[in-house]
């Protein structure tokens, strides 16, 4: 219980909120007032990419169409991330109110929650919650007496592919197709679900919005750094005494975070999940923020007993399996990187070939079709760079020291 108290303690998201509060305030505002409030708050997408939320909503609002959609990306699949699960199970009012405000702002009549397949157990309680909202006229026709504002929310259960967390693959999956990222441009804000303007937002982004609307942009900006306003939920796991979901202001250093969760003798921290970067001890003074160590919230802690080669192998195996397989750099590139890690593990690698693979990783970062392939070599490159001695000299330096 004590741990939970420590965890659910934050200035923004975990601050006090009553269901419908943000909606009431939002409906008293004009749509552009909401957009300007959001712009002023400098809120950026909490899924990891950090795209300004106000811009996304503004573009969707500006798209001319009789139908628009707001989609809540609850396909939380990044290894080491479990903050959305906490929000959906403990704070659904924040997420759904955020969606209603979004629907009102961009002009959507339907919101869809793309719920991760493994969170099937949450579907029933969420449906029940939506029914309560309908009873309170927080969903449905002429919401809270606002003439002409009809909005409802549906829950769609995902089918278990990591790539479906990528917004265009998510939309393909919603439409009943194979989960594969689309070409962009066009972007979903113009051509999204069913070809209509669609705003796809992370669970946490949506959950932050009611607070901002209710308490104001300035209040929000008072937390965090200049470029990363507000706070962030961090899913902290690995070698520490108090793992869990913590709300911390942006700008917290890795060291501060490690102290908080009582992590000792730490060698490395993987920030941003499998698709993120691995930081060595020498960089623990870096700040968690979009402008420094950016993350969607996944923090995995490794102590000194961990073997970085097997850590890396684990990540690469994940990507080899979870690449959707459509574009060449991601599909075959990840396979090659994994082969390289296996060579290191067996001690048959050569430095020059591993270097070639690092080079290939650089290509994957820029040439892959979607964020999955673009970020999948991050772990490979950062572990190789930051733990060079351990990795390259693994198993007698490989190739019987012929390097």
């Amino acid at each position: 219980m004590e741990i939970k108290k420590l965890e659910r303690n934050g200035k923004i998201i975990f601050s006090e909120y009553k269901r419908g509060g943000g909606i009431i305030k939002a409906l008293s505002m004009k749509r552009d007032e909401i957009l300007f409030e959001l712009k002023d708050s400098k809120l950026k997408g909490r899924g990891g990419a950090g795209f300004p939320t106000s811009t996304k909503w503004m573009l969707t609002a500006a798209s001319i169409s009789d139908e628009k959609y707001i989609i809540c990306n609850a396909d939380e699949g990044e290894p080491g991330t479990f903050k959305d699960r906490v929000l959906l199970s403990e704070y659904p009012e924040l997420v759904f109110d955020g969606m209603v405000i979004g629907g009102y702002t961009i002009g959507a009549k339907l919101g869809i929650v793309y719920l991760r397949g493994e969170y099937e157990y949450l579907q029933k309680p969420l449906e029940d919650y939506l029914n309560e909202m309908r009873e309170d006229n927080l969903l449905g026709k002429n919401i809270l007496g606002k003439e002409g504002f009809d909005f409802d929310i549906e829950i769609f259960l995902g089918s278990g592919a990591y790539v479906c967390g990528e917004e265009t693959a998510l939309i393909e999956s919603l439409e009943g197709n194979r989960g594969e990222a689309r070409n962009r441009p066009p972007y979903p804000v113009n051509t999204g679900y069913n070809g209509k303007p669609t705003s796809v937002n992370n669970v946490e982004t949506l959950a932050t919005i009611p607070h901002i609307i209710l308490k104001g942009a300035e209040w929000f900006r008072n937390t965090g750094t200049d470029k990363s306003s507000g706070s962030k939920l961090f899913s902290i796991s690995g070698d520490c005494d108090k793992p869990g979901v913590y709300e911390l202001p942006w700008g917290t250093t890795i060291n501060e975070l490690l102290d908080l969760v009582e992590a000792k003798n730490i060698k490395a921290v993987q920030i941003g999940g499998a698709s993120g970067f691995c930081y060595p001890k020498s960089q623990f003074d870096r700040k968690l923020a979009y402008e420094d160590a950016a993350t969607g919230g996944s923090i995995i802690i490794f102590n000194e007993n961990r073997n970085m080669v097997s850590v890396l192998k684990n990540f690469m195996e994940f990507f080899v399996e979870e690449s959707c397989g459509q574009c060449t750099p991601c599909r075959i590139g990840n396979t090659k990187l994994l082969e390289g890690v296996k060579q290191i593990e067996k001690g048959v690698h050569t430095f020059s070939y591993i270097n070639k693979l690092r080079d290939l990783g650089k290509t994957m970062q820029v040439a892959s079709k979607c964020g999955l392939g673009q970020s999948s070599p991050n772990a490979f490159i950062s572990i190789l760079d930051n733990f060079k001695d351990e990795v390259l000299n693994y198993n007698n330096g490989g190739a019987n020291g012929r390097n």
């Binding site: 194979r178 574009c327 060449t328 750099p329």
Partner: protein
């Protein structure tokens, strides 16, 4: 559109296209961009790839194909766009803002090289043992980027079994580069939907419904996927070895029939530009290879017109005069085996609309093993008939169990244009240098009506030339200049024409036993339509189902492949709308120069009706040899 899309095969990649403005000169209609420091103005919505190509900047591509929607999956065409963090696929990037593009930076070149290296690392096999050697897009890319060794290794063991269950299409997935052109061809171009990506990550592969062999799924054998495959992953089922063996066997009398489309395209296999017909040269080459007789499929195309035309008149007579409700119109053409199988699968309730007349290929087989064998006094069991076709589905067709009316397998082997070109090369012959020669008797040179069967609308035009003259007694030339029925021609996906019959003549002798006079046709407006490619056929069929204007038609020509036979799945690779148009041009040009251009005027046709099928078209004997029946296959796979 909604109606048409209903029941459509699933699509994984939709064509995200920004429509280009009709008036690029209007404000916002054009955008000024910079490619490699050079200022260029282009219509808004042009892709980077198009803009580069129009300005002679070469961008390598692999998954891109001019006939197909954008996929953007191979990533070879990536370029740098200033201000963007990642490289952009030029094929999939419609330009709507003034951007600055760099097509050959260090990062771009390295990325392309890496992608080629990656593709090669998983591409099993060696170039010299591949039928696409020297005509493979992956191979050309490797050459273009100077690949001289395998940077990221090379797969040494096959991962897949070759699927050669189908008579028509062989799939070797170890050579697949996952460009998905076949998937897009099957789903978007043909709307058949047999192929799709299965599994993900490193296990991704192209497969069929529940990974069943191709012969057991609803593949229509059109082979359009083969024409668009950049590598050797897809090919036709090749009978060359068996044909060589027959040629080398002195006890066998090997005859070959050539269809018009291969003749108009085979030059491409010998380095000629598309649009050069090599009919005369091919005749000589085939004799030098060792075929005993060389016949013109157009002869049986003429015969098809007589049979199918008579059948149409009989159906109309039954419907219009006798008021017989069982008379089924519109009549559908049946010479395209891809279309026939498509109908059998997707609209099996309409198989009775298909003309029972066999395709020219199969008619010829039956005639050769009966009439010809009799005339030449050769035991039909010693005759081997080979058909050179632009088509992979013809291989399936000649293996249909119904096609044995001569008492033997009517056509022993269907040979594609590509495979014949290979045989000619193996025989040491450079086709374009051959002297010209004519076809062999007793069938000789056929009419131009048979020749234009190769292009979409050709069967309809040939049929109309004959039907108009038989009914009105007037020359077609009196209605259409030079007997060119232009409204039927072209590449529009679906074409519809109405021809009012204002006057009628006397019934020709050959049909007198069926019809006392033509008066019942006076005042009737003949409604005909043409559709090519099964996606267009689907539009027409859906309209018929809904009782639309096509259900009022009397006769509809359907071709399974885009462009008709000249765009068939057995034709030289590559293909594009431009290439198909040139082939059509070659066919129409050759046709215009022929002395006889109507099927009923072909003296050899008259001869066969006088001396062999002497009860006339659609008689008992012709039904026995020249007509067939169809199978209601349905869409569901056991």
């Amino acid at each position: 559109m909604e109606e048409i899309n209903k029941g459509r095969a699933p699509v994984s990649q939709k064509p995200h296209v920004i429509e280009k403005p009709k008036h690029p000169e209007y404000i916002g209609g054009s955008v000024k961009i910079q490619i490699n420091e050079k200022d260029i103005v282009i219509p808004t919505g042009t892709t980077i790839l198009e803009a580069c190509r129009e300005n002679n900047i070469h961008i390598p591509t692999l998954c891109h194909h001019p006939d197909l929607c954008v996929a953007g999956v191979c990533r070879l065409c990536v370029v740098e766009v200033e201000g963007m963090r990642t490289l952009q696929a030029s094929c999939a990037f419609p330009i709507t803002a003034p951007i600055k593009i760099h097509t050959s930076t260090a990062m771009v070149r390295k990325a392309r090289k890496h992608i080629i290296d990656l593709l090669l690392s998983e591409h099993y096999g060696e170039c010299y043992s591949c039928f696409r050697n020297n005509n493979c897009e992956l191979q050309s890319l490797a050459k273009e980027y100077g690949v001289d060794h395998y940077n990221y290794g090379h797969i040494t063991k096959p991962r897949f079994e070759i699927d050669n269950s189908s008579y028509s299409v062989v799939r070797d997935m170890d050579k697949c580069v996952l460009c998905k052109r076949c998937v897009r061809t099957c789903i978007d171009l043909q709307e058949v939907g047999v192929l799709e990506a299965i599994d993900r990550g490193d296990l991704t592969h192209i497969g069929t419904f529940f990974e069943k062999p191709l012969a057991d799924v609803i593949c229509i054998n059109c082979g359009q996927c083969i024409n668009r495959c950049p590598t050797g992953a897809l090919r036709a089922n090749d009978p060359r070895d068996e044909i060589w063996a027959a040629i080398d066997d002195p006890t066998k009398h090997v005859v070959i029939q050539t269809a018009p489309s291969p003749r108009a395209a085979i030059g491409e296999e010998f380095g000629l530009e598309p649009g050069n017909s090599l009919t005369g040269e091919l005749n000589t080459a085939l004799r030098r290879i060792g075929f005993d007789k060389v016949f013109d499929t157009n002869f049986t195309a003429d015969l098809t017109i007589m049979e199918e035309g008579t059948e149409l008149l009989l159906r109309l007579y039954k419907a219009l005069v006798k008021g017989d409700k069982t008379a089924i119109v519109p009549q559908f053409t049946s010479c395209s085996p891809g279309w026939v199988k498509y109908l059998e699968h997707f609209y099996s309730e309409y198989v009775d609309n298909l003309s029972t007349a066999k395709s020219p290929q199969q008619m010829f087989g039956a005639i050769i093993k009966t009439f010809y064998a009799q005339e030449e006094k050769i035991d039909p069991k010693d005759i081997v008939t080979v058909a050179v076709m632009p088509c992979s589905a013809k291989k399936f067709e000649c293996n249909r169990p119904e096609m044995t009316d001569s008492g033997f397998k009517d056509v022993d082997y269907g040979l594609t244009t590509r495979e014949l070109a290979q045989m000619i090369k193996e025989a040491g012959i450079h086709l374009p240098e051959m002297p010209k020669s004519d076809f062999d008797d007793p069938f000789g040179n056929a009419s131009g009506a048979g020749l234009i069967f190769g292009a979409t609308g050709g069967v309809m035009e040939a049929a109309l030339r004959t039907v108009i003259e038989l009914i009105t007694g007037n020359k077609v030339e009196s209605i259409f200049e030079n007997a060119n029925i232009l409204p039927i021609r072209g590449f529009e996906g679906v074409r519809y024409v109405e021809l009012p019959i204002t006057e009628v003549g006397s019934v020709p002798e050959i049909l007198k036993h069926f019809f006392p006079d033509w008066n019942w046709l006076k005042g009737v407006t003949l409604k005909v339509a043409v559709a090519h490619g099964t996606a267009n056929a689907k539009k027409v069929m859906e309209d018929i189902k809904a009782g639309g204007k096509f259900s009022e038609c009397h006769f509809i020509e359907f071709m399974g492949c885009p462009g008709g036979c000249l765009g068939g799945g057995g034709q030289p690779i590559p293909t594009s709308a431009e290439i198909r148009a040139k082939r059509a041009e070659a066919i129409y040009k050759e046709e215009a120069e022929l002395p006889i251009r109507k099927s009923h005027e072909n003296p050899h046709v008259t001869y066969i009706y006088e001396n062999f099928l002497n009860e006339g078209p659609c008689s008992h004997k012709s039904h026995e040899l020249l007509h067939t029946h169809y199978v209601k296959r349905g869409k569901y796979i056991a």
